[in-house]
Amino acid sequence: MADVFTIWVDGEPVEARGGETVAAVLLNRGLVSAYLAGKEGDASPIGRISKSGSPRAPLCGMGTCFECRVTVEGVPQTRGCVTLCQPHMVIQTSG
C-alpha cells in the first residue's frame, strides 16, 4: 500500500502517493476541476500557459515534450512527468 502525503500546489494542499509523478497528480486534479467547474478559467491549472495564452497539459509523459514543466522547490522548468512527488513538495504552476 503506497504511502499517502501532502504536496503543495500554488499554495494549496493536494494529496499524493508514493510512486506518483507531479504531472499525474496535476492532471487528475485538472480534469476533475475542468469538468466540475463548467466555466473557463475556473479549472485548476495543470502546468503551463502557452505563449498565446492557452492552458497546456502533459503530452508525451516521458520527459521529451516539456509541456508539463512547473517550478518544483523553487527550480523552474522542471518536468513534472519525471519528478516523483515527495512529502511536502512545493510546486508552482504558471497557470
Binding site: E20, L31, C81
Partner: protein, 417 residues
C-alpha cells in the same frame, strides 16, 4: 565543482536495451556505469507502475548488482570517450569510458491536427506512462487513436484498469493489419498476447482506415471528430503515429545516421570506434530486438566478441518483425491534409501556415522560432518532416535545457581538456 568518474563501459539508457547491455558487459567482466534520464529504471515499455519495478527489470537485478546506476541523469555534452559530461540534478560529472553503449530508445511521433494542444490530449505510450505514474483512469472516457501495435496494447491495459475506452482508431487499412495479425500467429507467445488482447477489448469499437480530424474543447478536451464523420465524447485522447528514434546523443557523438537511424554493424558498433548503439535508435523493432541488441552491444563493448557473435541468430530472428512494423503502419497521405491553423511547434506556438511561408527547417526556425523551445525540436521536428518534408538540423549540446550554472561548470571543465 565537477566530479570525475571512470568506467570500462558507460551505458546510456536503462530501458530493455540498456539494462541488458549493462548486464552482459558486467558478465564479461567490465566495470559498468549505467545512466538514465528517468527516476526509475525500465525505460518506457518496462516502466515501473506505482513505484514497483517491472518484472523484467526485477529479473535482471542479479546481473546488475555490481553495476553503478545514476538515475535522473542525462548527457550534457560529449567531448570524446574520455570526457562525457553528465548532468544529474544540478551536479555535473565528467566520465572517462573505454566504450559506450547508446540505448536512448524512442519517443512518440505526434502529428498535428486542430485542437491537439488541448489538455487531455496525450501520447499512446504517454497515457500508459502517466497511468503507471498515478494518472486516474477509472471511469474516464478515452479514445485511443493513431497507428501501431501500441494502440491495442494500451487500449487493453486502460480497459483492464477500469477506463471506458470509447474506440480504438487505427489509420492503417484492413488488408495490411490482417497480414500483420497473421504474422503474429506464427509466434506462440504473440498468439497468446493477441488472444488476451482480444478478450480485454472485444466490446470496444475498433476502426481501421480512420483517423482523428479534430479535438474539441475549451480549457479541456471534450470530444473528438473522426475522418469517418463520427465523433466521441472523451476525457482523454491518447494519440500517436508511431515511434521516432532518439538519435540526438549518437549524432552529438559523431555517429553516422542513415535514414534517421544510427548506422551499426552486426555487433552494434557505430561509425565511431568503441561507441555502440542498441535498441530503437538503430531501427524500430520493439522490445525483442532491443533486448538482444543490448545483449550483443554489451558483450562487444566489453570486448567479449565471441559471446556477442553467439547471439547473432537470435538478433536476425527479430529483423522480420522490424520490417513488418514499418510496412504495416506506414502513414497515409491524408494525415498531411490538416488545417494550416494547426499548431506545429507547441513550445513557441508556431502554426503550419507560418511554417509554409519558409523553404526549409533552418529558415523557418530563424524566422518563427519553431524548434527553439525546450523540446529542442523533439516534437515539432518529426511533425514538420512529415507535413512539409523538411530535414531537421544536427543535434547540438546541450541536448536538454540546462541551467546556466551547469553550462558554466561544463565549459570550465572543457577548457582544461
Amino acid at each position: 565543482m565537477v566530479e570525475s568518474l571512470a568506467c570500462d563501459v558507460l551505458v546510456i539508457g536503462a530501458g530493455p536495451a540498456g539494462l541488458n547491455a549493462a548486464a552482459t558487459a558486467r558478465m564479461a567482466g567490465a566495470d559498468v556505469l549505467l545512466v538514465d534520464s528517468q527516476p526509475l529504471p525500465g525505460g518506457q515499455i518496462w516502466r515501473s507502475a506505482d513505484g514497483k519495478q517491472h518484472p523484467e527489470v526485477e529479473a535482471l537485478s542479479p546481473e546488475l548488482a555490481d553495476v553503478s546506476i545514476m538515475h535522473s541523469t542525462t548527457v550534457l555534452d560529449w567531448c570524446g570517450l574520455e570526457s562525457i559530461m553528465l548532468l544529474s540534478g544540478t551536479s555535473v560529472y565528467r566520465v572517462a569510458a573505454k566504450a559506450v553503449v547508446i540505448a536512448t530508445g524512442a519517443r512518440e511521433l505526434f502529428l498535428p491536427f486542430p485542437g491537439w494542444t488541448l489538455p487531455g490530449v496525450m501520447g499512446v505510450g504517454g497515457i500508459q506512462a502517466l497511468k503507471k505514474s498515478g494518472l486516474e483512469v477509472v471511469g474516464r472516457k478515452i479514445v485511443v487513436a493513431g497507428s501501431g501495435p501500441l494502440l491495442l496494447e494500451v487500449a487493453a491495459s486502460l480497459r483492464r484498469s477500469g477506463a471506458q475506452v470509447q474506440a480504438v482508431v487505427e489509420q492503417a487499412p484492413w488488408p495490411k493489419l490482417a497480414k500483420f495479425g497473421l504474422r503474429l500467429l506464427r509466434s506462440r507467445s504473440k498468439l497468446q498476447q493477441a488472444l488476451d488482447l482480444r478478450r480485454d477489448i472485444r466490446d470496444v469499437p475498433y476502426k481501421m482506415d480512420t483517423w482523428v480530424t479534430e479535438a474539441e474543447g475549451d480549457t479541456w478536451l471534450r470530444s473528438v471528430k473522426l475522418s469517418d464523420g463520427s465523433s466521441y465524447e472523451c476525457h482523454y485522447l491518447a494519440t500517436s503515429y508511431g515511434l521516432v528514434p532518439n538519435v540526438e546523443l549518437a549524432q552529438l557523438a559523431g555517429c553516422e545516421i542513415v535514414n534517421g537511424f544510427v548506422k551499426v554493424d552486426a555487433r552494434g558498433r557505430t561509425s565511431v570506434e568503441n561507441v555502440y548503439c542498441a535498441g530503437e535508435p538503430t531501427g524500430i523493432g520493439g522490445v525483442d530486438a532491443a533486448v538482444v541488441e543490448g545483449e550483443i552491444a554489451g558483450y562487444a563493448a566489453a570486448g567479449d566478441f565471441a559471446s556477442a557473435r553467439a547471439l547473432f541468430g537470435k538478433r536476425n530472428r527479430t529483423d522480420a518483425f522490424t520490417r513488418a512494423l514499418s510496412d504495416t503502419f506506414a502513414l497515409r497521405g491524408e494525415l498531411r491534409q490538416v488545417s494550416d491553423s494547426s499548431i506545429v511547434c507547441r513550445c513557441e506556438d508556431v502554426t503550419l501556415s507560418q511554417l509554409k511561408e519558409h523553404k526549409d527547417w533552418r529558415t523557418a526556425k530563424l524566422h518563427t522560432r519553431c524548434g527553439m523551445g525546450p523540446c529542442q525540436g523533439r516534437v515539432c521536428g518529426p511533425a514538420a518532416r512529415f507535413l512539409v518534408g523538411w530535414e531537421p538540423g544536427e543535434a547540438r549540446a546541450p541536448l536538454f535545457p540546462t541551467s546556466v550554472g551547469a553550462l558554466v561548470e561544463n565549459a570550465r571543465t572543457e577548457a582544461t581538456l
